[in-house]
Amino acid sequence: MSDPLLVAEHVTKTFASGAHTVRAVDDVSLAIEPGETLGLVGETGCGKSTLARCVARLYPLSGGSVQFDGHDISSLSSRRMRPYRREMQVIFQDPYGSLNPRRRVGSIIGDGLAIHRVGDGAERRKQVQHLMEVVGLNPEHYNRFPADFSGGQRQRIGVARALALRPKLIICDEPVSALDVSIQAQVINLLLDLQSEFRLTYLFITHDLSIVRHVSSRIAVMYLGRIVETGTVEDLFTTSRHPYTRALLSAVPPADPDAADSRQHVVLPGDLPSPVNPPSGCPFHPRCPRRQDDCVATMPPLEPVLDDDPEHLTACLHPLRTGEDLHPSRQDGAA
Amino acid sequence: MARFLVVRTLTGLFVLWLITIAVFVLFFVAPSNVARTLAGHQATPQTIALINHRLGLDRPLWQQYLDFVGNALHGNLGYDYYHQEPVTTIIRQAFPITLSLAVGAAIIWLLLGVYNGVVSATHPRSVRDRALTVTSLVFYSMPSFVLGLGALYFLYYKLTLAGYAWFPAGGYVPLSAGVGPWVQHLVLPWLTIALVSAATYTRLSRASMLDVLGEDYIRTAEAKGLGQRRVTYRHALRSALTPVVTQFGIDLGQLVGGVVITEQIFSLPGLGKTAVTAITQQDLPVIIGIVLVASTAVVIANILVDLCYAYLDPRVRLT
């Protein structure tokens, strides 16, 4: 196995606002292999977007390190970061906010080329038009403004922009969350096509579990700034160990409607606690139906549990055994 | 709130200090003819140098500055060589005139401007609104000296010729001599300053009010069944006033300008006219004294305005 493309070790990000400090990302470690898609899921507010920006060095890190392609980029100045930016791109969530309304689309897509002085004006224009074709846009619309395009098309523009510098890694921060469901599939398929054609590695962030299942090879689940479980899609969807993962994944509508009855629908009590005042010990314990005394006191380490293979890591002191059900307040009446 | 006040006061003092330095440095770039004028045309360079020395004008700049600041803090703003009077006296005589003029005009323009603006906004596109919009445009575009001369011509000259000597051509009557005469002499100057600014405030409050009236929370209030008048004056006005207050803070500095012109035209011996005369005479102590007093007044007024702003918009208090 080759070296991982991206390694995050004990990454922490705190924000201070007035008297409060928020630990948006708390001691997160993960690794992404070249060519794979790591899906990062969690509720809104769990810190996944913040983690993405830390990894992309759009925020400075409060703690920990990030290594890209073997190089430590944790605390590089913006000038030293520039060459790495070519290899690592971001696709943003908001199709309306992520494109400058006063710039023409061709200029937006070719921005990276211009910044890194790739080719001259004519070559760049050709490149941009080629990219537009690749993502499914009409290259003749080179001179139009973002306002002339629909949401789905704007996301395609964002994809083209990210692709322009032929990066190795693309961080997709909820790329389809703002789109109509009917358009989502098209953009997802585009991303998958591009991955095989351009040999891309994706960090795919989303709160939509059905998408993450379709897109990822591995999944990491975040809760309140921490990773609670990570493993292959298989592992997590068949043998999830962490109660939160189990609850989360139980909400995904299965592909087979007939299987719905046998599915256990878990409803978790309470809400996501405020990251300003996180619970002690395991962050999930206030809502966990399996909580024990040691959960309140000790922070569970992220490591293989029970008889899992070394790729499947869980942060739980009392993980679910294979075949074991989660027993919370049951919503459906089925036995 | 107290913290806000303290911070603002300190900032104000700092600004004031910078102004004194700026003015002081500025004026010492210019040749000062004080000694020469006192000595008379026939004086020899030696005599002038002697007078310079006696007056302390040949000492190093920074020493003069420190002395000046020290004196100022004791209420002594120096001595006016041209008129043989302490600067403080000159200022003390001129100050009430300018104050009457400025405060009166400010009150008139605020009330007039905001009232008209609100009326305009609550009856958009009506005849009243259109008439107000056009008149404000005309007054807003007019320099105050044009308005002043116009007022003199029509309200003094023509009116007096026609037999109605309501307004004098100028001059000041102190309040102690009676409210009637005091007002009578101030009406035209007040109007000269106020009408131009009122127009600005009419436009501003109209736009601001229209913005606020279009907001959803106003529609909610209306939907709740509150009468239109209550909606307007309670809910909308408070938010609409914020930009007006901000503008007022900025305009305080400009008020000084309007005062200067008006005092010139109507021969009111206030700070403005005194300052202009002093400048043409290169009378340094008076100039510095007046600029200092005017700046202090502006800084204080700004602090008061900020207080109002904080009252209207609670978010400001937290910063």
Partner: protein, 315 residues
Amino acid sequence: MSLHPVVTAEQELEEVHSDVVGRGPWALAWRRLRADRVAMGSLAVVVLMVLIAVFAPVFAHITGHPPNMQYHQAGLTPDGLPKAPNSTFWLGTDDLGRDILVRIAYGARISLGVGVVATLLTVVVGVVLGLLAGFLGGFVDLVIARLVDLVLSIPFLLVAIALVSVSGPSLTITVLVISMFSWASMARIVRGQVLFLKEREFVEAARSLGASDLRIMFVDVLPNVLAPVIVYTTLLIPVVIIVQATLSFLGLGLPAPAADWGGMISEAQNYYTVAWWFVLFPSLALLITTIAFNLLGDGVRDAVDPRIDRLVRPR
């Protein structure tokens, strides 16, 4: 999963209507402005004033009266007072027997010249400093913001008068003095806008591409700031014109015998009872110019930033 671009339903629609030309925000604004008759009218007046200024010598040529030539015989009454408008002097004469019409034309040069140059200077300084302060934040912002506060709290006219009188009146000084005080409001507006724009995702996107701060400021942020800047600029010109006229009214404009609207009105002060034309015509010239610029500014603002709630609200 094909590698060929997927033709979506939206795209099919696109192809059919591809002759619908996409119009950028500026083109749209221009179209709105063109449709605004009041704004176009005031633009015409402004252009007229500019032409008058440019072709001032033509006025002198046609009437045969140079602007500074004093006609003591033909231009003054036997008592030595100005003459009313007549066939020789179309707008009358001033206290020294000079042709008011010609002097107004030459005065336009000064008012418009100072108006435009001072405004341009103000805009450049204000926008750059506002950009830097808003975008870079930190120490730069602190210094610039404090400077702005300071400049805004100084009583402008007094200090301006002082400065001009100390250095001697000249066009350059007037322009510099006016700009020195006006840049602050512009900077404040720009800074506010930039602070808001800084948080937008397209700025983050530019950063993620590796753009430098400088590039982001001028390529990404500036075009979005231009709209309020343009509006404010158009509305600033009449203010500058008035300020310049005020300064010359107080005797601090160009030295006599220069023809300048403010100065003319100042000279006319003592004659307003006997020579109304002496006060009226320069004042009218001033008023017409400023009203035109103000109306134009309003039109520009409506064109660049149309708001739905400026339309009729049913009551």
